[in-house]
Amino acid sequence: MHPLMNRYRDAEQRRLAALLGVPDPAAPALTRRRFLQATGAAGLVIGLDLAVPGAARAAMPGVEGAATGPLAPNAFVRVGTDNLVTVICKHHEMGQGNTTGLATLVADELDADWSLVRTEYAPSDPKLYANLVFGDLQGTGGSSAIANSFLQYRSAGATARAMLVAAAAETWRVPAGEIRTAKNTLTHASGRRATYGEMAVAASRQAPPVKPELKPAARFVYIAKDRSTPRVDSPSKCNGTALYTADVKLPGMLTAVIAWPPGFGAKLVSFDATEAKQVKGVTDVLEVPEGVAVVATGTWAALQGRRALKVQWDESASRALDTDGLLAQYRTLATQAGTPFTKPAADAGAAAAPAKTVEAVYEFPFLAHATMEPMNCVAWLHDGMLETWSGHQFPTFDHMFAAKAAGLPMDKVKLHTLVSGGSFGRRANVWSDFTVAAVNVATAIGGRAPVRLQFTREDDTGAGLYRPMYVHAVKVGLDAQGRVASWQHTIVGQSIMAGGPMAEMMKDGVDPTSVEGVMPTIYDLPMLQGTLHSPVLPVRPLWWRSVGNTHTAYVMETMMDELAAAAGKDPLAFRLALLGKKPRAAGVLKLAADKAGWGKAGRAGVAQGIAVHESFETFVAQVAEVSMRNGKVKVERVVCAVDCGVAVNPDVIRAQMEGCIGFALGALYYSEVEIKGGRAAQRNFDTYRALRIHEMPRVEVHIVPSAEKPTGVGEPGVPPLAPAVANAVAKLGGPRVRRLPLTRSDLVET
């Protein structure tokens, strides 16, 4: 999701609910008391307050290691008599490490022993677990997890600590101020000593402080302490026990695959299930709104059944869609004025004719997210209610849409959010496509059994919900001193927000996610004039790790190099001259350049390219060291500098920068979904290629020490990579690449 979600408020949510026809827009009525009841016993949280058969309960997925109560001062932390601290994470873990981050925040203020900290995932309840950046919606995205939780989760930990201290003070009859806490232990100079577990019951009787005192940064024990809080999810992900949606087992559970429309906009005409039903294990073949569902006792039977299914589709409406044709249309549109996304220039007429003009047209393809875990969701209709298990990245949307699909009020719908095998934006969408499809299958079989809907890789890659295609046309005038005098910028590409429930976030016909990175830009470019075309297509558009910045940073940062070259200036100096109003951007740029030895003679045949970008309030600069062999690009090393405010988990930040760099490099090299005859041409990793280990450059990450509020790191490492590499390629005598991916220019070893 995007930080712009913060324009959502109560009224907006009601409007949305009305639009969707959701019967009960109120959040599920989990009161705090019920919540405590649900979470206080037996260490099993999910499904406990539901009428679930005993066997089913035992079979339900567990959590990463839940602790028992009784101290549960708020919705975010519990301390058990077993001395375990459980942190309830409101954000979705898709690899970015926020589970560890949220636990770090609580553990620090609580003075917990990290080895005794456990985590679990919160139920869908925006009253308790809203993303504070999004308003009243619960969801994860926009690199906002730690940013919005920083004070909230620390307060939760501080509250629990205060209650433990108060309990100890009362028990030991000493002033609270004399009690020390460290590593789950309370001590007093008199020699008194108790673990948190021993004091938990007494602490639960204490009144929570009205405003818990938070530590000054100097007293942090985990926050910003490198390697002090290893990832909580490492062990389970290294021994195969981490529970993903694909792994959920429920009694009698069936597996479904759907015969999806082959093209974007194709319509189901008819189907013949005779042979499909003869496949051993196939139980049902049913029409659902998405297509034809084949339900079976296992995955292989479902796949065999779908193979045997005969379906007739009407592709007359979809067949004309073709990315080559689309690109030609976009190029034409880019020569025409669209909707302005900048204020009209104050003295448009006064500008003198530029001494030099640089013009370029850039082309970006559709991108699929291609998470390692293809989309899936388990849905179970029973006892007048619906339960779902999935990587619910945006529970509030998924909750509403699941309720609507099932025809149930929201308080009869319970979501279980599990870790997911990646998202990169895919799982946060305003259609809740995989959740709704699973509910539709569950409904179609009359709630006879729990059912897991599984996308195959081909289903997943061909499903649309792509980062849209974009074309940018840029014309920049330089004055005689090589300074930017004029800047005309036209962007063509689908709006992610328009037409859907988020259209409200558009401003004057402009989707901010289409232009972010150009407007606003970190550079001091008051003369920049931009217009936008937002064509509508039958392919659903979606954000993709760093959203609009995926294309705008490429344009801005390669253009910066072209302008510097035209002005005869060093690319670093040229940028710095325009960054007077953005010291943090200048800071990371200088740090990356310094650590990479920018401007010093490097190895022969190796060139450095540089880029800097701000996204989600985090600043990242990267220097890519690139060589070319037989005309093919090899990225050897990337030096990355990041300023994300307080670095809560330095090693998680490094990991995200490393991952962002590899993810962005794979996209730069290979990623492109072509649509031919209305159908996605790339459907699996053989043609929609991902970066592999031998292509991964060495990565060095430097984190700017900062006391600013923490900002996100899941996405901001992506935008600078591609332009940094492209700038190095140009330096090596290669072309100025203006069409991605690089395979289009035959620059990649395949």
């Binding site: 796949l303 053989d686 290629r689 592999r692 395949t750």
Partner: protein, 206 residues
């Protein structure tokens, strides 16, 4: 046109073909086609010419993607009717059966597996470097095949036996998936190679 001219033209065609393959492993798929039987060449009076023509005919198989893909010059085989580099990027490894940790048999089983479109055979492996054919002309391949230092120490009779009966060679006519089979049949290839040997095993121009 005299048989000699025909043979020369065929030879030129083969050379052109192999040049194209050298460039990018033939962009368009080679279609399944028939092989001509040795008798079809009996009108070529000159024995050496006939021998060369027979080898050029057999070359339709040898330079077919089904065979060429696993006779790489470098470390990495190719795949598909268009001979694109193998994905994932595997290497021949120490024994031509793949790298340690990523052997051919990691993915290739004893038989073609249609659900995942992965081809298979019990002996699946890459031809040794000495038998590399990719980027080579048919004449070069011919010399290579005859040279015991580069053919695994085989006599011509053993070569014929290999072409006519080896079951991994035979996979080329039963490749599964959407892979085009090699032209003709393995028996026809065996007959052509036998006739080529009988006529003196002459090689086309390099």
């Amino acid at each position: 046109m005299s048989p000699t001219v025909i043979a020369r033209r065929l030879s030129m065609l083969a050379a052109t073909l192999s040049t194209a393959m050298a460039a990018s492993m033939a962009a368009s798929p080679v279609q399944a086609e028939d092989l001509r039987a040795p008798e079809a060449f009996s009108s070529i009076g000159d024995t050496a010419e006939r021998s060369r023509a027979l080898f050029v005919e057999a070359g339709k198989v040898l330079q077919h993607p089904r065979c060429l893909n696993c006779h790489p010059v470098g470390e990495r085989p190719s795949q598909g009717n268009d001979g694109h580099p193998h994905s994932p990027p595997v290497v021949r490894g120490p024994d031509d059966h793949g790298a340690i940790g990523l052997q051919c048999a990691t993915c290739h089983q004893a038989a073609n597996f249609e659900p995942s479109r992965v081809p298979g055979h019990p002996l699946w492996h890459v031809a040794p470097k000495s038998m590399a054919w990719q980027t080579r002309s048919l004449g070069e391949i011919c010399e290579q095949i005859k040279d015991p230092r580069r053919n695994g120490g085989k006599s011509l009779a053993a070569i014929q036996e290999h072409m006519a009966h080896d079951s991994l060679v035979g996979w080329g006519w039963h490749p599964g998936g959407n892979r085009d089979p090699a032209p003709g049949t393995q028996a026809q290839l065996g007959a052509l190679v036998a006739a080529w040997i009988d006529t003196g095993a002459a090689c086309p121009a390099r």
